[in-house]
Symmetry: C2
Subunit: 357 residues, 2 copies
């Protein structure tokens, strides 16, 4: 049978420790070169709306050790409203019932069959969280107890869940420019984590004297600066522009997620994307040669040294996502769903064929 | 609702004239640069069997004018048994009920939603046939009446269907080395086309004095040679090695399907693919600079001249498939399925989400 799962199912099935463990194993295989990830591609054309574009995005990855391959697909209607001086990339929920279209298809490397199909949303933030969690596990001080987080959005929750899964965290402070957002987030995460999350009104109040700084924003400009770096600190980022280049250069040890290339954009002739966060992100960090920095999979596989001593400043940059992560985390979702009998079973014959294609 | 269709449904819904018409329209848009196709990628790793590899292949395309994007995915267990002096690429039907895994996902460029999911097998051969049919429509003599076809396999039937859809064909001769295969094929196609298909025991008996030669083989070596070319002939191929380079160079007018690049193979470290048909195909035709030859979309869009006079020898090389073709032909399948109420309706909510991914 081929399993159809919802985001609610995925959220129930995939715990952060499981997700971290699967990615950890998969990254060793990626560092060994046995696991394979395929650079993301975005195919972009006009849609019926003049103020929007259609984007068909796909990325693949195969983790032989976990017996799975995955294709993640996003089929989006995208607009770029101007917010302040920048264009912000905003997806329109144009599918029926005002929904978005993002899918993960999980395949068996033993039989080729489709094992499961499910939306990408919950997995997407879990794998980002788990990746930065692995950065903390392998780079932060063993006795790290305090976190300052910048951001209170969709990604911030899983960032904190991941940090708490790999270190004994006792105190968290959260800054976000919107008072209501940060207070709501702090209350929710205090409940979820069983660790007090304190909302603060200034960045400095969040990051002064903490062991770990987590940037988890949607920003197009730097939000963390060199002057705030302190000995022993671990600084973590989910988006290129978040940390100013001078701060990155000042760290004693910097590790990036991947050397995988910039996503391959193929656009209809004459189309130009409005300047967007992502492009600006690549531009902003141009003084950093990401390809020369070691990667998280290499670190996990023991090919390079982690933190040397308690006073080093370490920095992990989650510079780009990989289709590979969806295969690794998806394998846990599938295994747990089978164990717990969750999901809708459809005949696998619906998604296979008897003709040699 | 999102439609689930079978190969049988696709075969019933998609007629060759419809498929040709959809591709014709889509190719104009591709030549204009509004339609976009994404180069195929193959991600290849070990599988549990030592004598096989796992391959996750994907290709995308978006045809804004038809309102659809498509992702085609193949999840294959592949072996390379040695046949004579060559390794033949053979997919293993390892999915439950001894089946293969090949899927097309069709999306709306207006809403992003998944419109339909169906196996790729029938569409795969229909789009190859339709493409070579368009080669005939735009390049063969208007009064072409006779065909010699080399090959009697899976692709050969749709090649003939396409030829008969664009020209008034009165006589067909078929050569294939295996007597039983060619006789069975000839009997079946005579029935299907309403045109007599005569099986012959020598290549020369099939191709002498015909108006159109169609190569439709699985060969790794040339099967059609310069010495057989005659004034006024149109020669058509579905695979690079079929026509010897000297014959291609002798044609007055040569058109290729696409300038799209060689598929991007990403393999596990240390893996090497056995020499296979495809690779050999690229190597064999290295004396031909495919990128310098005009393409079928350019020809259809009127950007270059077609046949000039009845005595020219024309040649169409279907050098590489495109994800784009699956979007174009898939749009017809979907439209006809909705009109005729065919397929299994699943809730679109199963394949969409309410979180911004």
């Amino acid at each position: 049978m081929t399993l159809i799962l919802s985001n609610a199912d995925v959220g129930q099935l995939l715990t952060m420790p499981d997700c971290i463990e699967a990615l950890e194993q998969a990254y060793v295989e990626l560092a060994d070169g046995r696991g394979v990830t395929r650079t993301r591609s975005d195919t972009i054309t006009p849609t019926v709306r003049d103020d929007a574009l259609y984007s068909l995005k796909s990325m693949d990855g195969v983790v032989p050790g976990l017996g799975v391959g995955a294709v993640r697909i996003n089929s989006d209607i995208i607009t770029w409203p101007k917010v302040g001086n920048n264009f912000r990339r905003v997806k329109v929920p144009a599918a029926p019932n005002q929904r978005y279209t993002g899918l993960v298809l999980l395949f068996s490397t033993e039989t080729g069959e489709p094992l499961a199909i499910f939306p990408d949303g919950v997995l997407q933030r879990m794998r980002v969280g788990a990746t930065n969690g692995l950065g903390i596990k392998y780079m932060a001080r063993q006795d790290a107890r305090t976190i300052g987080i910048l951001g209170s959005g969709w990604q911030a929750g899983t960032q904190l869940m991941a940090a708490c899964a790999v270190r004994t965290i006792e105190s968290i402070r959260c800054f976000s420019p919107n008072k209501e957002n940060r207070e709501k987030f702090a209350a929710e995460m205090t409940e979820t984590l069983g660790v007090e999350v304190i909302p603060v009104a200034q960045t400095e109040d969040a990051i002064t004297d903490v062991d770990i700084v987590m940037c988890s924003t949607n920003t197009v400009d730097a939000v963390f600066f060199e002057r705030w770096m302190q000995p022993g600190m671990h600084v973590s980022s989910i988006k290129r522009p978040e940390i100013e280049p001078a701060a990155i250069l000042k760290a004693d040890r910097v590790v990036v997620h991947t050397h995988d290339g910039k996503p391959i954009h193929t656009l209809s002739r004459g189309l130009e994307l409005p300047e967007n966060q992502e492009n600006k992100g690549w531009q902003v960090a141009s003084e950093i040669d990401f390809k020369s920095l070691p990667t998280l999979p290499e670190l996990i596989a023991g090919r390079l040294a982690g933190r040397q001593g308690d006073s080093e400043i370490t920095c992990f940059l989650n510079n780009l996502g990989l289709g590979y992560q969806f295969a690794a985390a998806g394998s846990v979702v599938y295994r747990r769903a089978k164990e717990q009998g969750i999901g809708v079973d459809l005949p696998t014959d619906w998604f296979t064929e008897d003709v040699h294609p």
